[in-house]
């Protein structure tokens, strides 16, 4: 059995955008992305919206078929599994979406919603315990505690943070081996984000899960520890890989630098010196530049950048960058 719980190889996802009446133009929302997540480890995937993070995450959960590439679960291609193996994979690969409303049935009470899942997957037989104990246990773990206070509430009676906790409970009640958390705190206040990230982190550690944590808020990845792996994505490509510490304290790629420079700094003096590093804003799928994906916005772009896409290359141990300046 492989050490990697999930391994995505050279994934390409192609979508079409309308380019005027009756004309549709293809573009690669994910363009040759490879990423492996070891057993019990966390990988952060960061980038601004439209970069292809959700699309990639969904491919690893088989919620979306790629145009090209392969996804291995515990070393075996998910596109080439027996139905028994595939069922095992599906139970073990779960999703925490950005918008809790997307996964939650508004007309089921908290307790009922969790009970539905537990019953459907016969968790009581699996673990040999009372089914309500399984529901209560997960509620306490995600911080919907005491369970009695929440069990009979409808999702709309919960606060934003509580609703996100419910959606974490939904995904984790199955004790999956692999979880994709897709911007679970984006819709929450700063004062609540930390608590949600810590809840996810603690459960991941406790259950030994493997987690793909998608976010545009790179600072939140610090809660997972300085050595956590991070991949920075832009327009369908991974432009830089490294540890959280590397990426935050010593960003190499011009895009990563821009992303960091954009983080709000709680210091009024900084307003006079801060700059916007990139030109313009993220192009629409119709106007993606040739060559390097950043070449139309990058302040350092040279002639070669507009012609040839740079490959992701190892620049130092554990550090990969796709930029002509560093190859």
């Amino acid at each position: 059995m492989s050490e990697n719980v999930i391994e995505a190889r050279d994934i390409v996802v192609r979508f079409y955008v309308s380019a005027g009446l009756f004309r549709r133009k293809p573009f690669n929302a994910v363009d040759g992305v490879s990423l492996a997540i070891r057993k019990g480890s966390i990988v952060g995937l960061v980038g601004e919206s439209g970069s292809g993070k959700t699309t990639f995450g969904k491919v690893t959960l088989d919620l979306l078929r790629p145009h090209k590439g392969d996804v291995l679960f515990r070393g075996k291609s998910i596109y080439n599994m027996t139905s028994q193996e595939y069922r095992e994979y599906r139970i073990n690969a779960q999703y925490i979406p950005q918008d809790p409303y997307a996964s939650i049935n508004m007309f089921r009470k908290v307790g009922e919603a969790l009970l539905d899942i537990a019953r459907y997957h016969k968790l009581d037989q699996r673990y040999g315990v009372d089914i309500m104990d399984i529901v209560r246990d997960i509620m306490i773990r995600v911080g919907l505690s005491p369970p009695e206070k929440y069990i009979n509430k409808y999702p709309f009676q919960l606060s934003g943070g509580e609703r996100q906790r419910l959606s974490i409970a939904r995904a984790l009640i199955l004790r999956p081996a692999y979880v994709v958390a897709d911007e679970p705190t984006t819709m929450l206040d700063a004062s609540l984000k930390a608590n949600i990230v810590k809840t996810i982190r603690d459960m991941v550690k406790e259950f030994g899960l493997s987690l793909l944590y998608i976010t545009h808020e790179i600072t939140l990845l610090q809660y997972f520890g300085p050595e956590t792996e991070v991949a920075v994505m832009y327009l369908g490509k991974i432009v830089e890989k490294g540890t959280v510490k590397d990426i935050l304290l010593d960003p190499i790629h011009p895009y990563t630098k821009a992303l960091l420079a954009a983080i709000p700094v709680p210091d009024p003096k900084e307003r006079y010196t801060r700059k916007v590093l990139l030109k313009g804003s993220i192009p629409s799928p119709l106007n993606r530049p040739s060559g390097c994906v950043l070449s139309d916005r990058c302040p350092f772009a040279e002639a070669i950048c507009k012609k040839e896409p740079p490959q992701l290359k190892v620049v130092s141990p554990g550090r990969e960058v796709a930029c002509h300046l560093f190859s």
Binding site: S18, E48, S49, G50, S159, G160, G161, E162, D189, A190, S191, L192, K193, A194, N195, K198, H216, E217, I218, T219, L220, Q222, Y223, G225, P226, K245, L248, L249, A258, L259, L260, A261, A262, I263, P264, V265, P266, D267, P268, E270, R271, R274, V276, L278, S281, I282, S284
Partner: protein, 327 residues
């Protein structure tokens, strides 16, 4: 000191019989950026809606409330006393305009951007299409969009950042002097957030605007605000210059908000977030509404609501700073 533009006094707002705003008072001076900051649900949008007089039917404003508006430096008018026809003819959108929270998804998906401008114009009796397009072109260029292309686009063809620019342009259509920006960057990722903030600063100079910036993200206001009001459970709890708020915060809630901003690269002191849940208006605790979450709370905090007092360099509502302490 700059002359006043807007003075909100003793603003009380009730939804049905639930009191949401408690004696909210603040002053906004001509040409400044006043930021109203607090967690989701604390009453920021309610405050804005009261100023623009677009509260829902079920809302009621207290008898002792007033909102003085100093139009062209003349004697102030109480916006709450103005007859609706006068208010909608002279004030709403023409003097005071608003970029609505969450409006990105509220753009009508079935009509092109140019039709959005036509509708806005029509609502104000402007029917000359050529004139409307000319103004739309000017404004879309001012918000750094390719005006020709965007006018012919449907909302779905635009990114989040582009839609927010369109909404800003629409808010400026009738040349207002005072613009309320309700969470203008909340749904956007960090890079787009930065671009929008830069743009807002530029527009402010160009069109000589005054802003009220509403946000739950305190880090953001360091970049743009002149003065900051911190709101908790429908009350202003601290108000001062942006420098005082960031370099010398005094209210425990302000301090907690600032502490919840993660610092880049500081793995040892990751923010804890504010414990507990934001206040629920249906069951506010007695005494200071922040006391259940406040690390400094003492007996008096559980009994008496602290009044907002003037310390000279700031206004603050906290027993730690009350002049007469009850022993």
């Amino acid at each position: 000191m700059r002359e006043p533009l807007l003075k909100v006094r003793n603003l009380d707002v009730y939804y049905y019989n639930i009191r949401v705003l408690h004696r909210v008072g603040f002053e906004i001076r001509r040409g400044e950026v006043y930021a109203l900051v607090g967690e989701s649900g604390c009453g920021k949008t309610t405050t804005a809606n009261a100023i623009l007089r677009i509260l829902p039917e079920i809302a009621r404003i207290g008898n002792e409330s007033s909102i003085l508006y100093y139009k062209d430096g003349r004697d102030p008018v109480d916006l709450l006393k103005l007859p609706e026809d006068e208010f909608s003819r002279d004030i709403r959108w023409k003097e005071i305009s608003m970029v609505f929270q969450g409006a990105l998804n509220a753009l009508n998906p079935t009509i092109k951007i140019k039709a959005h401008f036509l509708e806005t114009a029509k609502a104000h009796g402007i029917r000359d299409k050529k004139e409307v397009y000319k103004r739309a072109y000017e404004l879309l260029s001012a918000v750094k969009l390719e005006a020709d292309r965007v006018l012919e686009s449907y909302p779905i063809e635009l990114s989040g950042g582009m839609k927010q620019r369109v909404l800003i342009a629409l808010a400026l259509f009738l040349n207002p002097k005072f613009v309320i920006l309700d969470e203008p960057t909340t749904a956007l990722d960090v890079l787009t957030q930065r671009e929008i903030l830069f743009l807002l600063k530029e527009l402010k100079e160009k069109f000589d605007l005054t802003y009220m910036l509403i946000t739950h993200d305190i880090a953001l206001v360091a970049d743009i605000a002149d003065r900051v009001g911190i709101m908790y459970a429908g009350r202003i709890v601290e108000e001062s210059s942006v420098e005082k708020i960031f370099y010398d915060p005094k209210h425990p809630y302000t301090i907690a908000l600032l502490r919840s901003v993660p610092q880049i690269g500081d793995f040892k002191r990751l923010p804890e977030g504010i414990p507990g849940e934001p206040a629920d208006f249906r069951k506010l605790p007695p005494g200071c509404p922040f006391h259940p979450r406040c690390p400094e709370a003492t007996e008096i905090c559980r009994q008496k609501v602290p009044p907002l007092i003037d310390l000279g360099d700031r206004k603050i509502a906290c027993h730690l700073y009350a002049k007469e302490k009850v022993s």
